[in-house]
């Protein structure tokens, strides 16, 4: 391959390079000391990956306990108080400690610099600080379980005045606030880092419109983090002051406004939905293109759709508050409905990417297709909720629970796809495809069996966050199906852990096992300390593909002409 290199700069073979230049890797600390002191984005990203997958498993265990409790109308597995702690911490762990950190801490942290041909993140030490803040925050939040009053129990949204010191006096609530502040700062620093990296560290030739969709989505995510998370941080400080320093920002007694908390929370919370979703959209996009052996269909439309979603997401927060009776319904309704348009563009682009491709049903691809279908269900049910009259009768029922679990389970499918797709690049070893496909079917079918009964339960009036339903034994069979689905999902997670154990250093991956398209597949697996010994010419958003298949570059529709090579110097 080296002799095809353009420009014809002859570099020494890779193995000599390793010995010649990577002083840090060979003379720096090793083992645990290396892990503690590293500023390498790949090792930090790997720490993030392991920590956040552990969080996924912890949150999943909470979910299984919740579902076991709801399997009978008068479940007595946990007490009412314990149940409140469980669903609060299930939501908090999944949203704050798994989904976000997994997306922008783990995969983006590792992949974005490599995708744009950068040696590391722009601020490596800040990156390390982000991880340690995240880990500290996670431990802080979870340590609430070991306090006398138990963990936080006011729901992951912590609505005032339930979350004030009168109604929730325990230490667990304070630890929840503290943990969320720490992980919030971690997210903000990662956002700063991603923005700086993407704006300033792109390799020569890597123009904005040649960035992979995943990198684009991470840029938009990072901007949303910078817009949204400081608001949450401010709100949490206000909440803490109300609890301990005698302020009355959210309490009626002192002239405060309880609904203000909801405005602040959701002004962060709705962009947060897209902070969670956009990275996984990006992962799915990459996977669908690679395993269809085609470029991303409507690449530029995809980018504009992402930007549109981000812009709209800042103006829809009050659709979580339709039933408060104190927000302007039509404005937030139309803004929310409009999000369906760019989201629909994405779904059609994903189908267009597969259309007339040569689809290779690897585990990653199955996960990505499962993501598209599950996300479609979650998206369509979201449109109902954007209509205030329909929200009035489904709000705070299991219909909403089912809606956002369709969405987040779609994200979990994409996350698993991301692990199967990029795992070999990070570790150098493939995962077992047979177990992977089994995992996919458990996860995909489990998700539908889990959510569909919940839609029916919500329409039949089952409120969320109830531990018992003694007056409505007719809800039992639907709850049992949902619990069965949760068990299937649990089995899929076990299969994943089993797969990691079974495949441990067993199937060497090589540099580019999927015949992939973007820059990260040009370097070794795992990449060397500063990611690249050499770069291909970057003339489209698929430099590795163009390099490996020079005769099959992207063509414009209807012309049969290849997208022309732009003439510009390569440094």
């Amino acid at each position: 391959m080296t002799d095809l290199l353009d420009p014809p700069v002859q570099l020494p073979p890779v193995h000599e390079e390793v010995h010649g230049h990577d002083h840090e890797e060979h003379h720096g600390p090793t083992g645990i000391l290396k892990w503690l002191t590293t500023t390498d984005h790949k090792i930090i990203g790997l720490s993030y990956t392991v920590t956040s997958v552990i969080m996924l498993i912890i949150g999943g265990i909470f979910a299984e306990i919740i579902r076991a409790q709801l399997a009978t109308p008068n479940g007595s597995l946990v007490s009412l108080a314990q149940y409140n702690e469980l669903f609060t911490m299930h939501g908090s762990v999944m949203i704050y400690l798994f989904a976000g950190p997994f997306a922008f801490g783990a995969l983006a942290n590792i992949m974005v610099p490599i995708q744009i041909g950068a040696p590391d993140m722009a601020y490596p030490r800040l990156n390390a600080l982000s991880y340690w803040l995240y880990l500290t925050g996670a431990i802080t939040m979870l340590s609430g379980f070991f306090t006398a009053g138990g963990a936080a129990n006011f729901g992951w949204v912590a609505y005032a005045p339930l979350s004030n010191s009168v109604n929730t006096p325990g230490t667990g609530a304070d630890l929840w606030i503290g943990g969320l502040l720490l992980t919030g700062f971690s997210a903000i620093f990662t956002g700063v880092n991603l923005c700086a990296t993407i704006f300033y560290l792109r390799a020569p030739g890597m123009t904005m419109f040649r960035m992979p969709i995943f990198t684009w989505n991470m840029l938009v995510t990072a901007i949303l983090i910078l817009l949204a998370f400081p608001v949450l941080t401010a709100g949490l400080i206000m909440l803490y002051c109300d609890r301990h320093f005698g302020t009355h920002i959210f309490s009626v007694q002192g002239g405060g406004v309880p609904v203000l908390w909801q405005h602040i929370f959701w002004f962060w919370g709705h962009p947060e939905v897209y902070i969670l979703a956009l990275p996984f959209f990006g992962m799915a996009t990459e996977i669908l293109a690679v395993f269809s052996r085609k470029p991303v269909f409507g690449y530029k439309g995809m980018v504009f759709a992402t930007l549109t979603i981000a812009a709209l997401s800042l103006g829809v927060w009050a659709h979580h508050m339709f039933t408060t009776g104190v927000v302007l319904l039509p404005f937030f309704s139309i803004m929310s409905l409009l999000i369906a348009v760019p989201t629909g563009i994405k779904i059609f682009n994903w189908i267009g990417t597969m259309w007339r491709g040569e689809i290779w049903f690897s585990t990653a691809m199955l996960m990505a297709i499962g993501f598209v279908v599950t996300f479609l269900i979650g998206g369509l049910t979201g449109i109902y909720l954007a209509s205030p009259p329909l929200d009035f009768f489904t709000h705070d029922t299991y219909f909403v629970v089912a809606h956002f679990h369709s969405v987040v389970m779609a994200l979990v499918l994409a996350a698993m796809g991301g692990l199967y797709y990029w795992g070999p690049k990070i570790t150098g070893y493939l995962l077992n495809e047979r177990i992977g496909k089994l995992q996919f079917w458990f996860l995909f079918i489990g998700t539908q069996v889990f959510t569909f009964p919940q839609y029916a339960l919500g329409l039949d009036g089952m409120p969320r966050r109830v531990a018992v339903y003694p007056h409505d034994p007719q809800w039992k069979w639907l709850n049992d199906w949902s619990t069965f689905g949760a068990i299937l999902i649990g089995i899929s997670t076990v299969l994943f852990v089993v797969n990691v154990a079974v495949s441990w250093k067993k199937y060497p991956a090589g540099d580019n096992p999927w015949d992939a398209q973007t820059l990260e597949w040009f370097t070794t697996s795992p990449p060397p300390h500063h990611n690249f010994y050499r770069l291909p010419p970057i003339r489209s958003e698929r430099p590795t593909w163009d390099y490996n298949h020079p005769e099959h570059r992207s063509i414009e529709h209807g012309t049969d002409h290849e997208v022309p090579l732009e003439k510009e110097p390569i440094s």
Binding site: A148, P161, L162, G298, G325, I383, R465, H471
Partner: protein
Amino acid sequence: MAALALSGCTLPSFGAYPGATSGSKSVFHLWQWFSVGAVVIGGFVCLLVLYAVLRYRRKGDNIPKQSQYHIPLELTYTIVPILIVFGLFAATLVVENKETSNPPTKVTINVNAFQWGWKFTYPGTNAFVYGQTTQQPEMVMPVGENVHFNLTSSDVIHGFYVKAFNFSRYALPGVRNEFTFYAEDTGTYFGQCTQLCGLYHALMWFRVKVVTQSQYAAWIATFNNPADEAAAKAAAKTTYEQTSAVVPAKGSTTKFGR
């Protein structure tokens, strides 16, 4: 579109209920039309995915045509969804304006939510209904008449939700939320708090009994007998004290109080 939105009687229910009030029936029809859209669009997209997955399975080591853009197609699936969205929004507005309008009424009911129960008072009369957790208060309201509701909360946020009315609204501390029901069918309906409000959230129920106007007048009149009234007040007071003793006072559940 408005006429369409309000006349979906022959469509399937898609899991929802027509409801017992005039507003809930409009909401139900809106639900049906949204569902038609969701099923058609969702089904179409699922078929596209299924077709692509089955038709374009990998058959060899060929590299397919690397086409990337098709501007007319992309414009189509941008513009058509925008039109659909504005259609849905128009239907939403019609139903929403009906649902949130507050015409003048003769009957008003004040609803006060608290941890963990409900108190219903009838301004201008002596009637009231009160109950906590295990007891379910049964609110009485007349059929065939607009009834105005003022919803408040004494402590945290609660959710006033009556499934049969296809409606819920937060009870917010410091805010008076107002809405109007026009019940079309008599019967007893189940209501529950939907917004997490603390330990006994799951047990915060009430019932809504919709009765004929003459039955309603008779029910109101039962509170006017001074002897009955005193007895009722005494009963309510006793109930309150008893339940207060059972339910732990706020903040006393942990030794790590303020």
